[in-house]
């Protein structure tokens, strides 16, 4: 299924087309479940989150029109943000699933390869321009939904230092990506 096909499904979903919504679910739920599971680290909670994500997709599909994201990236962003909101709302720190689920580098899946092309390589190169620790912090935060507090603990630095680090890293990253 091409990006254009997924776009059509999102647009039809925004018009209340349940058939399109069902097909969109079939085409994208495995990826979005991967996102939820990676961040939440718990199957039952990830399933619950995925339900909420698709409820959001049904109600907010019209917003896709104002985003510059590719359709699958837009869907993944909804899932990521929702899963992160959920994990932040937890009282307990997230389960440490690094050993079980660690994914160190962005490896393009077939759909990502088609959509993203050289972009994955580009962000990899730009992350490589950062110090090793900082690249890992950006990547870990993005993929696992780690908070400043968790990153600070992991890297053994005060929270403010972590925040300064990450902000500088993000500014550098933006500079590099816009070069």
């Amino acid at each position: 299924m091409t990006a254009q096909d997924i776009t059509k499904l999102i647009v039809r979903t925004s018009m209340g087309d349940r058939g399109a919504f069902d097909l969109l679910y079939r085409q994208t739920s495995a990826k979005l479940f991967g996102v939820c599971l990676r961040i939440l680290g718990d199957r039952a909670e990830a399933e619950e989150a995925l339900q909420e994500v698709f409820v959001k997709i049904w109600t907010k599909a019209d917003r896709f029109a104002v985003s510059d994201l590719s359709p699958i990236s837009w869907l993944a962003a909804i899932a990521r943000n929702h899963a992160i909101d959920r994990i932040r709302a937890r009282r307990q720190p997230p389960l440490d699933l690094d050993a079980a689920l660690d994914v160190a580098d962005p490896t393009p899946g077939p759909e990502a390869a088609a959509v993203a092309g050289g972009e994955i390589e580009r962000i990899r190169l730009c992350l490589d321009e950062l110090d090793g620790d900082r690249a890992a912090a950006v990547r870990g935060a993005y993929l696992k939904g780690e908070s400043y507090a968790e990153l600070a603990e992991r890297h053994g630095v005060p929270l403010n230092t972590m925040r300064t680090w990450l902000r500088r890293s993000l500014m550098k990253l933006r500079e590099c990506l816009e070069r």
């Binding site: 925004s14 018009m15 209340g16 087309d17 349940r18 679910y25 739920s29 495995a30 479940f33 991967g34 996102v35 990676r38 399933e47 995925l50 339900q51 698709f54 409820v55 049904w58 109600t59 104002v66 985003s67 510059d68 994201l69 590719s70 990236s73 837009w74 993944a76 962003a77 990521r80 943000n81 992160i84 909101d85 932040r88 994914v103 580098d105 962005p106 490896t107 393009p108 899946g109 990502a112 993203a116 972009e119 962000i123 950006v138 990547r139 935060a141 993005y142 993929l143 939904g145 780690e146 908070s147 400043y148 507090a149 929270l159 925040r163 990450l166 902000r167 993000l170 500014m171 933006r174």
Partner: protein, 238 residues
């Protein structure tokens, strides 16, 4: 960290805040504030979208994981009406999703209104005639409705969708935040009529919403919808 530190211009201000939101590192309360700002500040929302675009290639690292079938069923239960447990009102009637989906139905209606206009060109009393296309909601039930305020008559043209054995279709008029009011059980037939009760006349005007629910024979025993909504649409002047 004071809020001033968080957003000081030398730290990148709004753009860096957008980046932090997208990366996901902010604590819960700050995420809530940022999410609220995205809703009301389109300029800021663009900054967030820019960062989503910039970082989205990283998401390629998320693996695809098969989802248990029960999840989709649960989503459908949440989004689309299913028969409520006895005594309880279907949540659909107060659901934002439902009211929003009417916006989509309205688009379909625009075409229907155009058709109606040519089929029945407006006469002197045009302001008193209304049409609605009751589009399917999780069903294939579709009715076309013409309401004549002068004669207090609702004409229903059955487009598609059979009623299940032993069930009736009941027509309701709805307003947000109020309980639905029954117009009556829709008689069986291709082209049927319902008389509008006097008490209902003020509630049926342009902008009112008609919905059809599936009910036990003879209509809802409670005076409120008990079954799923199978079709709905809003009323337009012809």
């Amino acid at each position: 960290m004071s809020p001033a530190d968080d957003n000081s211009p030398d730290q990148g201000g709004d753009d860096i805040l957008a980046a932090e939101y997208v990366v996901g590192v902010l604590p819960a309360d700050e995420r809530r504030d940022v999410a609220a700002r995205i809703e009301r500040d389109p300029g800021f929302a663009r900054l967030v979208d820019g960062w989503e675009v910039r970082l989205s290639p990283l998401a390629a690292a998320y693996p695809e994981v098969a989802v248990p079938p029960a999840v989709k069923a649960a989503i459908d239960r949440r989004l689309f009406a299913v028969p409520a447990p006895t005594g309880a009102r279907p949540s659909l009637w107060s659901s934002l999703v439902f009211w929003r989906s009417l916006a989509a139905a309205a688009m379909v209606l625009a075409a229907a209104v155009a058709v109606a206009y040519f089929v029945a060109p407006p006469s002197g009393q045009s302001a008193q005639r209304y049409v609605a296309s009751l589009a399917p909601q999780q069903s294939d039930v579709h009715y076309f409705v013409v309401y004549d305020a002068r004669t207090q008559d609702i004409g229903l043209s059955h487009v598609t969708g059979a009623r299940p054995e032993g069930r009736d279709f009941e027509l309701w008029v709805m307003e947000p935040g109020k309980d639905p009011v029954s117009v009556g059980v829709i008689p069986v037939g291709q082209s049927v009529h319902l008389a509008v009760a006097k008490a209902l006349r003020d509630r049926i005007a342009a902008g009112a919403v008609f919905a059809i629910s599936l009910e036990p024979p003879g209509g809802s025993p409670t005076g409120q919808p008990t079954g799923p909504v199978v079709a709905s649409g809003d009323l337009h002047n012809v």
